[in-house]
Symmetry: D2
Subunit: 316 residues, 4 copies
Amino acid sequence: MNMKDRQSKLLEGIIVPLVTPLSGNGGVDIEGLNNLIEHVIRGGVHGIFILGTTGEAQSLSMKQREEMIKETSLILRDRLPLLVGISDTSISDSAALSQKAHEAGAYAVVATPPYYFATEQSELIEYFENLVSLLPLPLFLYNMPVHTKVAFDPKTIKRIAQNDKVIGFKDSSSNGAYLQAVMYAMRDNPEFMIFVGPEEMTAEMVLMGANGGVNGGANLFPELYVQLYNAAKSHDIEKVRHLQQKVMRVSTGIYSKGKYGSSYLIGLKCALSVAGICSDFPAMPFVHFDKERRNEIEKAMKEIENVLGNKHVINS
Amino acid sequence: MNMKDRQSKLLEGIIVPLVTPLSGNGGVDIEGLNNLIEHVIRGGVHGIFILGTTGEAQSLSMKQREEMIKETSLILRDRLPLLVGISDTSISDSAALSQKAHEAGAYAVVATPPYYFATEQSELIEYFENLVSLLPLPLFLYNMPVHTKVAFDPKTIKRIAQNDKVIGFKDSSSNGAYLQAVMYAMRDNPEFMIFVGPEEMTAEMVLMGANGGVNGGANLFPELYVQLYNAAKSHDIEKVRHLQQKVMRVSTGIYSKGKYGSSYLIGLKCALSVAGICSDFPAMPFVHFDKERRNEIEKAMKEIENVLGNKHVINS
Amino acid sequence: MNMKDRQSKLLEGIIVPLVTPLSGNGGVDIEGLNNLIEHVIRGGVHGIFILGTTGEAQSLSMKQREEMIKETSLILRDRLPLLVGISDTSISDSAALSQKAHEAGAYAVVATPPYYFATEQSELIEYFENLVSLLPLPLFLYNMPVHTKVAFDPKTIKRIAQNDKVIGFKDSSSNGAYLQAVMYAMRDNPEFMIFVGPEEMTAEMVLMGANGGVNGGANLFPELYVQLYNAAKSHDIEKVRHLQQKVMRVSTGIYSKGKYGSSYLIGLKCALSVAGICSDFPAMPFVHFDKERRNEIEKAMKEIENVLGNKHVINS
Amino acid sequence: MNMKDRQSKLLEGIIVPLVTPLSGNGGVDIEGLNNLIEHVIRGGVHGIFILGTTGEAQSLSMKQREEMIKETSLILRDRLPLLVGISDTSISDSAALSQKAHEAGAYAVVATPPYYFATEQSELIEYFENLVSLLPLPLFLYNMPVHTKVAFDPKTIKRIAQNDKVIGFKDSSSNGAYLQAVMYAMRDNPEFMIFVGPEEMTAEMVLMGANGGVNGGANLFPELYVQLYNAAKSHDIEKVRHLQQKVMRVSTGIYSKGKYGSSYLIGLKCALSVAGICSDFPAMPFVHFDKERRNEIEKAMKEIENVLGNKHVINS
């Protein structure tokens, strides 16, 4: 696809922020990656996003990230649009990753603000104007203030998006009022795509006009998130509320078994391992759950399977 | 009403978090208060909440707060349910205010966590168990982490709400994922009322099951917020999206003319003054807008009036 | 003393931020207060500061605060300069407390920024200009950003202190670079008094020119803090380092036995109770230590007593 | 030097956190780097630390960082101990940089916690135990919570430092009470080196026993910081206070001319350019000062030169 084609085909629906399956020695777990990609394709998702926060991109070396781009592309074989995270504190390294993404046939790249120094809005504008000029692919802005310490001001997004290589926005702030302000600021640009990170609030934002969700849980239960998206897209409020309960069951059962902020990520990887899809090794600085926590995840998985009404994952 | 009656009649819809009209010397502007209450009743709101954040309760002396309770009650004459904020750092002073609210015939009281010392969840539980035992009225928990530095954990809410004097929750966190987690935690208690502070995200939360909004803009344009609530309540998504644009126009036009965090409050009071409803004096530590900013508010008000399609406020 | 006399006699040394001894029913524990005041006077401290953070002022009702002012004054009988905290979110209530402090013969009052709404520097200036005009006594500015969410900019302090009723600054930020910037900003006003809150860094700041410390530990071991101040004041670095170790022993042994941010306060009150000086009841939202933690404090107290080389407190 | 030799020769004094001089096209400005290194050696500093926060390491690509290590080593020719920052979010990339540092003959490496995901203390311990096992050089822990979102707990430092490859701690928290707690926690390990980042509080911490400062201003006025260190080391309080005024003059004159958090860095680079030492290009996301701000820096530099009593820099 050339850039024009890419832009003419808008994305919507559920984009999976793919976890990065790792082998014990730190390399990509290729078999696990293959299982995972086939699993989410079967689940009906609308796209794949690698090397995001859920993909632990920052914890991977440049070399590991390049490996992940290449292996994903080989397995995916253009069956779904591929988004590639290039967030880094070095603009040169971000640009280098975008080149790899381009070579791998990606649909677009995705970038947060640099995350060591906190940046002001004027610096964000300058930074992204520079970054965009270095990119061979269209860009999604990625708002993740809990990790980057800054949020894109709605006016900043509007300004950066004057460049039509900037095609969308992924918001992981969880801030509903903020996201409404972003959608309002971009109201005259209907092709600008808005995706919601937290799965707990994707349905409501799709009801209000967002294009879809980039939901971690879709690694595990892709059908559930696709169903929820479809219900919201077709304004079926009763079905939305019904499915939302299931999503909340996943969120409260899988993501909060650890004591620390990383429990979302480690819980998700543990559940994927329990489901037989891939290994549960997170990248440093995190460590996988011990036996006791794994047992809790196993128990939660079984309950969720029952709630979902069929065997979505285990032994599938 | 006795407590049982109060609880049997659930609140829903738009509760106005009333600004506190002040005269130049710091007393309550009685004429302004009268205008404001009549204005919002005409606008069809479903309840009134005084002495919240928008009501600048913390900036008022205990005596001023007592005066506000009494004067509001006299003007309101039970035409709408009255909620009274009793948030304070002293549990005794909160209890004393609840007594005044009770004497004034209030429906319930509303309390944030104490806001000087940050409190842990276990301390919140102990604090509210004590507070509730001192109250002659039912209680809404009020989540306002930007000011109190702590948020109620969903499990904490569930625990405190085991006491059936705790009848609802008002969330001003703007955090959509969090509010979903609260609603999920309280799913077995359908009488527990959930209200949303930020008007920018009230519609979507009502679509998802919340009971209504406590929206500052309803001081100014009460009909608009009532219409939006009704559209969401009846699942009319197209109408919701149409009205949401107007709400966003208010939000971006009136609340952000100042440089500082207080611009929401001062902008709202300025607009009420432009509309001829009440004075624009905020309580210390804030000061009212200068001529230049007031002109901006006047201009925004005219544009919004045009968008709203009829003269809602000015010279009404 | 008239205001001129007060100002002509500069304070320096150790000011005890007095805990507020409470009886089980929430009133002031008069006997405990008497014990405590006599204890710190015997220990040689240079002043007493009531109704600060350590005094839990915010958790006390206006009536309790007035009682504390009156009772302290009756016990103190002008033997030491008395500073009174008037921090509140309501400027009227702060002014009312300053009147009580004046009637009680206080040396000065002490005020943080209002702590519900966060304030900008321009708002701080306006607020304190208004507050000072309402005060019958000189004022110390009190920087406590962890609780008030804002810090005084050095330029703001300089500006507010253009009014000579503003006679000093108490900094509890723990930020050494910041406090140097404040001292540098005030370098042309040598009568402006600078006091340091955290006892862990008082000695170094006195070496660099600060006037003294407002150290919570001086409730318990007043002599130790006076000795440390004297060593720093006389530039005896070896003695400073030696005593600093003891102060750190107190800090690590007494203030950190609880899990939460309140452990400083509760640990201090528990230790005072162990020492037989006053009760260990904190005001809501906090609760006193259970038996297990009290045992830890007892053990730490014994070790510290040994380190201090004589029985300072227990059974004294 | 082998590791034992390195450890047997403790560092103390002023370590310059070297800025990274950049040419307009993003490469290292070799001539500027040469000027800068010769300038600080002439100024008498005791060591050089490259690729820290002041060195903008995170904004540089891996390749640029490797270039900076190599070029610095070639210019330095072992005349001073060289510390190399290896902070990264990827433990592999940190380890790779440590290898380059080793090949370049560095004295030690320096690492912050990973700074995308915030880490808990237990994760910090695990992370650093892993990192240390990968390093061919001794390690300084680098505390920089404003950028990394987490601070090392004193107990965490003590635990990590049980491995004797962990030889010191650089604290840029500005938190005096915290740094005292760290020094107290490490009191039984006198060879563990403590360095202070903020130049505004280095003198006081050296008086209290710290080993020296890692002060950005030493890029510009190395002699001044060496004099201040020497005065503190020899307990000459009067001289310390006198020189402290000059350090504060630099801090307030050079570091605060911009509007944003980056003004320290950009101001310092601008001043180095005004002094004819190296270019003023910061790495993305920052941009150099415009003409107006540069004029302010020029003016401040002249005033400081006068205060310092001789021409330290310009045309030197």
